[in-house]
Symmetry: C2
Subunit: 479 residues, 2 copies
């Protein structure tokens, strides 16, 4: 890929305007690009390589659990969406419709998949007959289309990539367990791989998925104090089972409706990754999901030096470190440093004559800019140690930020004041009346993000109306 | 999944009507199902698991080669397709158009991706600037839409899954090498994994891809004597480079157009798999790509027997054999046998009291129905031996069929007579005039399948017009 910058990066500053900075680094790190149709985006190879980690992480968890991958058609009859009332109301405004096929006007327009509940459950109603067929656990990897005219790379686009899990169970306990297990997979991916701490919880009635009984979520807090919904799982209850007549014969020979779930993580998570960890020098990738973990930059183009670097690269590769040797000719080391900094490679080795003479390697950490020397002989163990340290320290830094920006607030004035300044997660008593929620949103742009799974029942009064409230909900302005 | 058949299979017979039989086994083996929109299909988990082998095989080859995965949008501006004349002519009749988005009529209709040359090369023209950016090797896994009203599961459908590789090179040699290397990957997948022998060759002018300079193909012969195009790679020459102005500065500082390729294997390959190996008892899967390689059927529901079977299953699993223990209660062994036969599992273990007493296992081969006993103590090595034998023997059987149904023919009467009876591959001299090709097609339904890569230059006369011809081309009726 060609580089549009030279030794100087000319990047926008995160501290000055996070949204301009964000677009700038996503483009310059070559994670993504704009598609030619307004609203669409291209996931470039470097970005897609990160998405492939998400695919691998989810696939290994799903397969061990018994979830099987499949593929359902892109085109859904419009009439299918209408079968579940809340569902069609939620999705109608954002549909893309195919009206011409093979040169002919179609009798019924086809919906380009915005989500696959309806098309999958039509099949489920045929495939499921007995309790022996349950649980039915199916996932697909695909893209979905929801009409958008503005693109905010990864965070909002007309088409995005995701996995969508769709399961059917004999009872509601089975469905709830599935939702919680999927939520736990998402938490693991965010916290243990993306180094982004999340708050697992459930959504309010107004924020839940169109057609769900309960929506489970993992919520993260971005550096501008705005929340980002990480991934969700939905207990669909028997809403779709009724709409699509998905019945099974139970062990006693009685016909019953199944209980269902759906759950998804999308390429939006890549936006969280960039926002959370990036800095004025580019993106910063946690080692576990960095396509390249270590880049080796030889300081000169000397032949002996190149061999020294090649040996180190080979040694790391053998030990399953994802390493790249940057032997591009005609580039100054500084320009290479910048290039890899923009791309967020966690560890850079600087190796010159000095290092060779002392049989050491100079390590530069991307996350802290810290530099130190390690013994050439211990290059593998020291590199692994550095990668572990970076992974942990990135998470801790993000966790500290989350903790420092999560506030228990009991006065609406203070709530408003925080929302107008530094923002963050506000834990407040809310009476669970949608009208208060709507008023708060109108006045502060903050919405309920979730009721944390571990929320205790307490005695309190609604921050807006003063009526009785039993739990503290998380509020925030959201992406 | 529920089974619609009992101890008897009620399958259609392959020998009576291969096309009815085909649809029947694809549905009953639960590889695929019809989608609700005419022309569409659902790839069910069992079918998708086979497709995942294809994905893994291609990904490992591509990544070792330096090909990177990416994702480009589903929607392509109609004007993009028009940029390459042959391309738009080839694809126009089969496009699906989105004309409504977010409730509004669109000013320009959007094409639902039928293939991604145009949208990818628009980006390539921006990303490629210097010889340093070449070769650019990008692949995507996605689905494409080409308008069809009839579904022939896997073999023909409105939407199908594939990978599409798209590369740009400094010179034509680079592009040709890429085409040949991709063709070799496809040959390997067909021959070494699907146990389907293929003829690698190049397509005639009339059969090549819309917009290509040369199309490379691997062609297989199905049991009804019809050919099936396995996968293709296209040397696009500079056709698209001109249309999209994809230039690079070469090492001498001169601007040049890139040379390009595209190549794909689709879920159609799954159709070949079923057609080639299946029999009156269902599909037959080659061990290397069978999601389940061994199924263990305990003959009774005895507890001690179950434990004996479980231990064997564990032992095989530890040795990376994909094994399943069928402990479904209330099913007779015969019904289980039938079930797994329909699904084509290569090896069945039948284990009863008799086997336990003698510390043996009865093995039944799916491909030949042969049964024999192996020593319990050598279960792992004997199973691996059986799987290897089956893989080899399935390929050899298919190869024998191919050889026996490939004929050098020099008389057009004989050509017609064979096409009206047993069909097959006919190797005939053809003058390479598209008019002869068209006439032959009109009169016999046979088309040129390919000129084999290893075809020798010979002296001959065109089977149709009698004019001079230099090579024997493969002709066949095609799927």
């Amino acid at each position: 890929m060609s580089q549009s910058f030279g030794d100087k990066k000319d990047l926008k500053k995160k501290s000055e305007n996070i949204s301009d900075w964000y677009t700038d680094v996503v483009l310059k790190a070559e994670l993504a690009d704009y598609g030619p149709v307004r609203g669409t985006m291209i996931v470039r190879p470097y970005g897609y390589a990160i998405w492939e980690f998400v695919q691998d992480l989810m696939n290994s968890r799903m397969k061990a659990y018994g979830v099987q991958n499949a593929y359902f058609p892109l085109f859904i009859p419009y009439s299918f969406l209408q079968k579940e009332k809340a569902h069609v109301e939620g999705f109608s405004p954002e549909l893309a419709l195919v009206t011409v096929g093979g040169g002919e006007q179609l009798a019924e327009p086809l919906v380009v998949r915005p989500t696959s509940e309806t098309i999958m459950y039509d099949s489920y109603s045929k495939w499921i007959q007995s309790w022996r067929d349950l649980p039915l656990l199916i996932n697909q990897w695909n893209s979905v289309v929801r009409w958008e005219k503005r693109t905010f790379l990864f965070l909002r686009s007309m088409e995005f990539l995701w996995q969508e899990g769709h399961t059917a169970h004999e009872d509601e306990q089975g469905a709830i367990k599935m939702c919680l297990d999927a939520q736990e997979w998402y938490r693991e991916i965010y916290e243990e791989y993306f180094a982004i701490p999340v708050v697992p919880g459930i959504k309010s009635e107004s924020e839940k998925f169109a057609g769900a009984k309960t929506t489970y979520t993992v919520e993260s807090l971005m550096p501008d104090g705005k929340a980002l919904q990480g991934a969700t799982s939905h207990n669909l209850g028997q809403n779709f089972a009724k709409a699509f007549n998905i019945q099974f014969q139970d062990k006693d020979g009685k016909n019953q409706l199944v209980w269902q779930t759906s759950w998804a993580i999308t390429t939006r998570s890549m936006g969280a990754l960039v926002l959370m960890h990036g800095d004025d020098n580019g993106i910063v990738l946690p080692p576990k999901i960095a396509p390249t973990q270590v880049v080796i930059v030889p300081i000169t183009e000397d032949e002996v030096l190149r061999k020294y670097c090649e040996e180190i690269a080979e040694e790391l590769e053998k030990s399953e470190v994802r390493v790249q040797l940057d032997s591009r000719q005609g580039w100054t080391p500084g320009r290479k440093f910048n290039d890899w900094e923009v791309k967020g490679v966690p560890v850079r080795f600087e190796i010159g004559q000095k290092e060779m003479d002392k049989t050491v390697v100079t390590i530069a950490r991307r996350d802290t800019s810290e530099k130190y020397q390690i013994d050439r002989a211990h290059v593998v163990s020291e590199t692994k140690k550095a990668l572990d340290t970076i992974q942990t320290s990135m998470f801790e830094k993000a966790k500290k930020y989350l903790d420092e920006n999560t506030h228990e607030v009991d006065s609406y004035d203070e709530f408003k004041q925080i929302m107008e300044s530094k923002r963050g997660f506000l834990k407040v008593f809310w009476c669970e009346d949608p009208q208060c929620e709507a008023k708060i949103k109108e006045e502060t742009k903050a919405t309920t993000r979730c009721l944390p799974l571990d929320a205790k029942e307490e005695e309190g009064t609604c921050i807006y109306c003063g009526k009785k409230a039993t739990h503290r909900w998380y509020f925030a302005q959201a992406y």
